[in-house]
Amino acid sequence: MATQSQDIDSATGSQWLDKSTQETLVRIGRHGLLLVWSFIVLFPLYWLASMSLKPPGEANALPPDWIFLPTVYNYIQLAQDGAFLAAFANSVIMVGASVVLVLLIGVPAAYVLSRWDIPMERDVLVWILSSRMLPPIAVVIPFFVIFRELNLFDTRIGMVFMYVSINLSLVVWVMKAFFDGIPETLEEAARVDGATRFQGFRKVVLPAAKPGIFSVAIISFIFAWIELLFGLVLTNFNAVPVTLFVYSFIGSRSIEWGMLAAASTAMIIPVVIFLIAVNKYLAAGLSFGVVIKE
């Protein structure tokens, strides 16, 4: 079957090349293009990382020092910079807490949307999606006003709430799709065995939905981790996230390029590891549950 169709393929294609030459050319072209894009992806990251490992003064040398003795000087400087450590810790704590909270709020709600007949279910789902359509700048101004009244301005709690608001629609949509894919007979069997509805959810459905929860947690983490605007508007000292730290670096007059590169690298590395860990389920998460299997 396969060889037959390939014969037809090459017969209708260019006839001046025999089949195997044509295939080799296609393969070379394909890998050539893929390598070009690989280079485009890697070069900026390589440049950032190498800059962070160069001694001060050499970071911006032109022509660039392609070969140099790497030094962790910039990272030591960074580790001694209280503002960076505080911002990094803030981000880890605030984003981490927001992921836990958004799962606690979103996963049970998605379960209900999947299992019960909700009136106007489609409208409810579009309404949930619409929270993602609201431009963050339009959302943040009212919260800027109200947070100052409620003493939530420049607090971690306020920022956690804002991070939850970014990701709630994603969690509900993706988890609803995952729950839809888990047969209801599983819980019914558990209920026949005397389990309550809640036990059926906790002991039967949740374990089966683990991959979905895992991927949606990581994607939520990333979307909150890279957020700048909320930090810019709603914090000024105590709850500054790491994105705002990097931004304030740019704003300052004399930029220490090496340290800036080190801070950016330190910010990117954990996310790269997360992404690679979850790459199998990434499509399911990013497509709001439309793609479930690869």
Partner: protein, 312 residues
């Protein structure tokens, strides 16, 4: 009703813990969905209504609750002196071009990777190509400032030493294009990973059948493969479009909307009206228009392409 009376009778002879447990299980869907509904109301209706209110009262206002309504005058200011129209044009330009570039590039890369024969090479490319998504837009702006800087940047340097062309001043001469290209670098992986999953879901027999017809490669994609994965294409484009309207960090970190107002997206215009000009009425007036605009476009797209077969 029935469950309520049940819990009341149980109340008499059982400890309150058991009563609570019954209350929990009998009304489980309500407990489960209530927090989500509450948060959703707080992050959709509240900001929308509050923006609308602020945009209709006089500014600057000390006492927000007793302010005087000024009708549409803030809107008038926004669209005459506030540069709202200009920033809408800039935003639409960035969203449309980045969306096109990212869609085509993402699909092209997905198709290339899907055709790789060795499964190890395949997963290598698949993992490598998602890495740019790990870079926060503001970090990407940092990288852009470092690498594209006219004096110390490596890319202008390479262009001038390797090619016969003079390097453009990325941040001052072609800032809009630079923003679009940086966003493309950042978010093509998003399209790539969804399209790749979509392509993998196309059954092999369908591809075989189209091959037997003898159709050329591009027609196989346009007439067989893309129609089959239409829901996936639709949702990827819709979500990316929505997110593109949220763009802020990369532009703010790179140019802060400048030089002049060359890269002043609506979100940056609103930010500056609010926090630099201290003009909440004008800022929220633009915000209300922007909000309605984005929701309208998204809903038109949803209605045009249709929900059927996508989320059902």
């Amino acid at each position: 009703m029935n469950t309520q009376t049940q819990t009341e009778t149980v109340n008499k002879d059982q400890p309150s813990f058991a009563r609570l447990r019954n209350l929990w299980n009998d009304y489980l869907p309500y407990w489960f969905i209530a927090p989500m509904v509450l948060v959703m109301v707080m992050i959709t209706f509240f900001p929308g209504a509050y923006d609308l209110y602020l945009s209709l009262i006089e500014e600057p206002t000390v006492n927000i609750l007793n302010a005087e309504f000024v009708g549409l005058s803030n809107y008038e200011t926004a669209f005459t002196r506030g540069g709202a129209i200009h920033s809408f044009v800039i935003t639409i330009t960035v969203v449309a071009s980045a969306l096109l570039l990212e869609s085509f590039l993402g699909f092209f890369l997905a198709a290339l990777v899907a055709g790789v024969e060795s499964s190890r090479a395949k997963s290598f490319y698949r993992v490598l190509f998602i890495v740019p998504m790990a870079v926060a837009p503001v970090s990407l702006a940092t990288i852009g400032r470092i690498m594209l800087n006219s004096e110390i940047g490596v890319i202008p340097y390479l262009i001038e030493t390797v090619t016969p062309f003079a390097a453009p001043a990325f941040l001052s001469e072609i800032p809009l294009l630079t923003v679009i290209l940086l966003d493309t670098w950042n978010w093509t992986p998003f399209m790539f990973i969804i399209f790749y999953a979509g392509l993998s879901s196309v059954p092999g027999t369908l591809i075989e059948a189209s091959r037997v017809d003898g159709a050329p490669l591009w027609r196989r994609y346009v007439h067989v493969i893309i129609p089959y994965m239409k829901p996936v294409v639709f949702v990827a484009v819709l979500i990316r479009m929505i997110d593109l309207f949220r763009t802020f960090g990369v532009v703010y970190g790179l140019t802060q909307g400048g030089p002049g107002t060359a890269t002043q997206l609506v979100s940056i215009n609103i930010y500056e009206q609010m926090f630099i000009n201290n003009s909440p009425g004008v800022a929220t007036a633009i915000a209300v228009v922007y909000l309605v605009f984005v929701i309208a476009i998204a809903n038109i797209v949803i209605a045009k392409v249709g929900f059927e077969g996508v989320w059902d």
